[in-house]
Amino acid sequence: MKEDKILQASAAEEGTALVGAEAENATRKQERTDSLYVEPKYWKLQMKRVKKYRKVLWFILPAAMFTLIFSYIPMLGLLFSFKGADFNLIHGTVLSNLFSGEWTFRNYLDIFVDNSFYAAVGNTLLINVIKLLICFPLSIIIAVQLADLKNQTLSKTILIIICLPNFLSWAIVIGIWSGILDSQGGALNELFVRLGFIDADYFLMGKNEWFKFFVIFLSAWKGAGWGSIMFYAAIMAIDKSFYESATLEGANKLQKTWYLTIPAIMSTIALMLVLNISGMMAAGFEQIYTMMQLNADFETTQITLDTYLYTISVVNRTNIPFATALGVFNGLIALILMLVGNAITTKTLHRSLW
């Protein structure tokens, strides 16, 4: 294969040296002979390999079938985003509805004149950026602090405790916090009232002005401990002799952290950062939707992209093609973010995201 490439490259070079049609002819001829030579060999090779692995190749089939039915067929569902607003499922099957009625591109244009869409994108980005600025450094700080502890039992105990919330469902995390902040007898609520922070009968989690705060606070409470595991493992893998020599040179702890630990785990930080940014369009559907339920006078201006999508497609279900178009649009943005993130990590860290 390498030789082929070199051959092609030299042919191309020759091509640039020659002029006009003659050069084009020469390269085309070269390509044609190459393809004629390579193609049968490729198929022959693959067939030989199929023969070699014929007994295990069917192992791929079940996974491929599930992927086909539950990932690829729904992808074809993006066709619904090109239907008119009168689409419904009252009569007939999904397929018969798909092929009746007219086709239109209007739904995609409607996205850009939808005010709720802009509000949803704004809220999603705001929540994710603040999470990135607070929760992400918090995980790194916890990891650095844990690694600094001399007492292994203590660090392990703390690790076990702070990882626990990550393994509880969002309904439980929100239930726990709404319980202790409950306006009727929540322990923390009682304390705040006594300290004069809030009035009696004031449910903090049910207030619009506190909504974003609790979204970010609860995701830090749930995820920061577990998020630090990655960094903690990276710090533990650093050669201890670096620290010893730094100590001999008279570096203090802050200097050791800043000039040794952080640069050493920089690739982990970069990878996690890119992963976080790739998921920028999703703000945690289960969490935010559950918190919305607790909030009796929830303002729709607080909605995020995935909760908006859920509301228009499952709760209201008034305009299915528009909801599909919004879903597809969201998927495309997520795809672009993932591809850009992957390009960055492969370029700088020589590591693919998948």
Binding site: P62, G77, F167, Q184, L188, D239, L309
Partner: protein
């Protein structure tokens, strides 16, 4: 003895370092308290008499099992048990089928000379990158008549490409000599997979299963999508808890229930995290393994 009592090489740590160490421990302890206080408060809520709710800090007051009795044997007990059973079925089926299917697919793909390897990998990876949103999946389930059935939750969760990649990377690292030896001994490819490759990859299989269990047990997003609040016979437990957080605030007939709403919620939540707490020691092992791994490297 006297000579090695004081290590001459040891540098006296500066005051700043001492201050930082103390500050470090203090901050970590504060963070741990922030984590543990709500958990303890909620545990104690489940075991307390509702009259003492506002006085609870870390431990139960007016010990009673009333809230548990209400959940497990009260008016709505059958709903709880049904949800619990649904969650068990969903979790077991997803964990077993998903991991088996993905590990099987990863085995041939882990061979460097697997035919059409690149193409097949792209086929799987595309599904990780792009999805057309929730409506097409909803319509698919509608067409298959799977709405309001637990099978919709199970089927949508089986395909798990990140686990496939995980298995593939692990299988690639397995020594090929063992497989060669088994092949010489006349093992068929299927025997090789089930009796050699799988036993060798138990650690990775274990951690994948663990995350499958946690994910399947805790998630209720797909239940919110496919199952309506009125189709009670198909609710997984996490969805039950989600509805409970809100629902009990509205239904207020029995005065005892009204007073003990928070206790009932806490009891139900505590019951629902028991399975997670049962497998949580695995995480501890995982963390410990991570530590030893780190120390070997370091």
């Amino acid at each position: 003895m006297r000579l090695i009592k004081k290590n001459p090489n040891k540098i006296k740590s500066s005051t700043l370092d001492v201050v930082l160490s103390v500050l470090n421990v203090v901050l970590l302890v504060i963070f741990t308290i922030v984590i543990i206080f709500p958990l303890m408060n909620f545990f104690s809520l489940a075991f307390s008499n509702s009259a003492f709710n506002s006085q609870l800090i870390l431990f139960p007051k007016g010990w009673t099992m009333w809230a548990f009795e209400y959940i497990l044997a009260g008016d709505e007990a059958s709903y709880f048990w049904r949800s619990f059973l649904n969650s068990v079925i969903i979790t077991v089926v997803i964990t077993v089928v998903s991991n088996l299917v993905e590990a099987m697919a990863a085995y041939p793909l882990s061979k460097s000379d697997c035919p059409f390897r690149g193409g097949i990998m792209i086929y799987f990876i595309i599904t990780m990158l792009f999805s057309a949103g929730i409506i097409p999946i909803y319509l698919l389930m509608y067409q298959f008549n799977l709405l309001n059935k637990i099978w919709s939750i199970i089927l949508i969760s089986i395909s798990n490409v990140s686990n496939l990649l995980f298995f593939k990377t692990f299988f690639e690292g397995l020594p090929s000599d063992i497989e060669e030896a088994a092949r010489l001994d006349g093992a068929s490819e299927i025997q090789m997979f089930f009796f050699i490759v799988i036993p060798m990859s138990l650690p990775v299989l274990g951690s994948c299963c663990f995350f499958s269990i946690v994910g399947a047990w805790n998630s209720y997003g797909s239940a919110m999508l496919f199952i309506t609040a009125s189709a009670k016979e198909a609710h997984p437990l996490a969805y039950y808890i989600y509805l409970l957080i809100d629902r009990l605030r509205i239904i207020k007939n029995d005065p005892q229930v009204v007073a003990g709403v928070n206790n009932i919620q806490a009891a139900a939540m505590l019951l629902s995290i028991i399975p997670i707490l049962c497998i949580y020691p695995y995480v501890i092992k995982y963390i410990k393994n991570g530590l030893t791994l780190g120390s070997v490297k370091g």
